[in-house]
Symmetry: C2
Amino acid sequence: MSIAGKLLLGQDQVQGQGSSFQAINPATHTETGPVYGSATQADVNKACTLASEAFGSYRRTSPEQRAHFLDRLADRIEQLDEELVTVACSETGLPAARIQGEKGRTIGQIRMFAEVVRTGLWQSPTLDSALPDRQPLPRPDLRRSYVPLGPVAVFGASNFPLAFSVAGGDTVSALAAGAPVVVKAHSAHPGTSEIMGRALQQAIKDCNLHPGTFSLLFDKGLEVAEQLVTNPAIKAVGFTGSQAGGEALMRLAAARPEPIPVFAEMGSTNPVYLLPDALNTRASEFAEGYSASLTMGAGQFCTNPGLLIAIDSPQLNSLIDEISQKLDVTESQTMLTPGIYRNYVQKVDKLLSKKDITVHTSCKSAIAANQCHPMLFSVTSELFLNDNSLGEEVFGPSAMVVRCKNLDEMLNLTRNLEGQLTATIHCQPKDHDSAEALLHELELKAGRILFNGFPTGVEVSHAMVHGGPYPAASDSRGTSVGSSAIQRFLRPVCYQNTPETLLPQTIDSKNSLNLRRLQDGRYNDQ
Amino acid sequence: MSIAGKLLLGQDQVQGQGSSFQAINPATHTETGPVYGSATQADVNKACTLASEAFGSYRRTSPEQRAHFLDRLADRIEQLDEELVTVACSETGLPAARIQGEKGRTIGQIRMFAEVVRTGLWQSPTLDSALPDRQPLPRPDLRRSYVPLGPVAVFGASNFPLAFSVAGGDTVSALAAGAPVVVKAHSAHPGTSEIMGRALQQAIKDCNLHPGTFSLLFDKGLEVAEQLVTNPAIKAVGFTGSQAGGEALMRLAAARPEPIPVFAEMGSTNPVYLLPDALNTRASEFAEGYSASLTMGAGQFCTNPGLLIAIDSPQLNSLIDEISQKLDVTESQTMLTPGIYRNYVQKVDKLLSKKDITVHTSCKSAIAANQCHPMLFSVTSELFLNDNSLGEEVFGPSAMVVRCKNLDEMLNLTRNLEGQLTATIHCQPKDHDSAEALLHELELKAGRILFNGFPTGVEVSHAMVHGGPYPAASDSRGTSVGSSAIQRFLRPVCYQNTPETLLPQTIDSKNSLNLRRLQDGRYNDQ
């Protein structure tokens, strides 16, 4: 039995004694799966103490041991049967194909981190030789390596029940960095979380690692989050979710006697700029791609393109008509949770009640529980700048077109945008001067800038940046997707005149791990 | 005339209209140099607006342009005449040789950053090729480069009037990153600050850069700090100083509508561990080195070794006697400011008033203004753990010896230490098992770990880490000394399917800057 409604504290399964809750199948609006009991303060303390105890040995596992563990975890997830898909679909309303695809992505992500750990790409060992005869003072032997910050608390996202949840990007990058992890499961998909948590438990057992390397907590409310982030054993936080949620964690972390970093990915409106010659040249192709990106997964992606910015023209009106027609014939989709659905309806209603805003799609009533319809609005750039609420993220398939008079207005609008995960420019060669001016503004606003594509679909690779200036992310210097995600959980340590036998292998004199190292300002393989 | 008592706003010099103040010569306890007027809110706004205006062009200077500017700045500082030394000595009480040495270090540091910018070591360009035929989805072309966060506010330190002040490490690493800088000068050395600020103004003019690339503000009180850190144009903060000062800036930065990172280096007690065989083998050599390090510069270094931890023994008593004798015959030194002197006396008096604490040095009265005597105390490990105030930094030449019963007590004590800039282990080969156990604890507590040396003296190099877990620094992932300091002010941007003509040079297809780049997970020169 993979689902027992239990907390996972190290290798144990424990009945939570706090308030009980059950997952809700959003498609049927009925409860599903076992009853979960929330973790108590004692459970949180236990998980954190275990993580703290595991840290000493886990952080000193060799790269090969750690990579092997991650590979084993990937195998364990690969071996999960149809139960995972059935449970995840019932808890999220997502189609089976999406869950299957996300399972593959989750496994691929774990194997990539195993490879990154093996190759030592993340270590950047740096050595400066002693200069005993240097005047006026000798230089000591200095070598820099990295250590993990300590146990990490991870908060899973509702919209990626596998890839950004219990064994998702934050957890796996922390484990790759050498940090034990305590996950607070998203209460919308506890069964999915438990299945993935048990796969983690098994991989830890397979590899004979300290049981405290991973624990999984459930909570109906918000107490566990607060207890976890304020626990002295926790040294960093990974979070994907709402701005309000991320900001609450940031406040808690900053108010600790020892403040800790919070890596919160909080969402974005992801502006898409359509420049004039691109609009002239390929309006229909754009309309097709844009509406598909906007409605994919019921618009429940952090990179959903909720803002379309263009220079006003008759062609823009035609494009808006074309997109609206596509949206109006798009089938309604079940949203992830009743709460997300309620929030979507409220935000759309708020927009519908505004003066001077044009509604381009039909307004339909829901035909079944928690089903949303795509929406398209438009406003002038002037109005948009005067009403901050028009720039707020609507989580779901709703988009706002902003009509600018000219490029200057478009640039000015851009300067006034908040930080974004992505920004997209559609342009033809004739638009390149405008695109360049826009690019210079967008580099200061977004973590990823795309050309002639759509922002949904985030590649797991070395060059990926999934993050951005506040409030897209709490710390714009990190990414929560791709191999650099590991860096968030590491800090440098400099070793001065250290006896050879005491040096970490990464920076020993014979380079026994055969790493690429910066030696006196030059790479050792140059 | 290099000193006019003026704020430097871009290329202008302006009389501050706020409260006026003058530097104090701590050796004579009399006012020295011109009267400075504090900056007003309008001056702060002006400096920040200028920085914001300069950012657009300055961040896009080529590596060669930026390196040339830094070299020019080094030249300008090199050309400064004896006035710099005279003014700095009168404002700090430091001897001329120290100021001369620090001038050399400051110039060397600037030239190192010029070299780092030229070689692109800081860029780590990363490219993932498009895979148009990949199944189930093609991979886009992804390339990652870095952009500066935006204008940086820098707060100079009292104890390094050149190397960590107006044209010091924080300023120069921000300029190297492509960020304009607004410096709030330390009010203890306004004349020194103005001379260095004028050198910066000149270098900016020489290189025809935007005047807003640098401004210098003075303030008698704390208002300018608050106005600067809360100004929306400022995107990051560099600070070296007290824990109270750093924490105040952290709170201000976290409470902004758009929170910004604060890189505060806040000091440390820098524990030195003397293991038994090292104590047996070379007590006198250790006593010599330790007392020299403790009293160097009147103990006013963030890396001052204020804590000596050893296993209790008759040999330890002899060592304490030997160190005390050296400290008792050390000449009194003038402290940097009357405030620092007052604080030192208060903290020492507080320790003197404690029960169960042993005082090993003689208590002398000051023979001249602001002159301090070195102090040595000892306590048991048990007492130390029960009274947190014994572990607080005493800024000045005062040290606490902690007597442990055995290695376990030493390890337990270490686990209970706060974050440190440095930790030092003195050991002989026979001590290596104990040293290894200690090292594993200290890696989690300190930014730099030294063996058989003393922590004062911070090398400016690639492998240096001057930072550490809280409260040594606000963000343990950064360093404020060495070439990696530049990373603090940068964030990654990913460019997806970007037309060749719009790509930054660092990641263009022909690698026109000839940089070392990670291409599809392998380095291009491998």
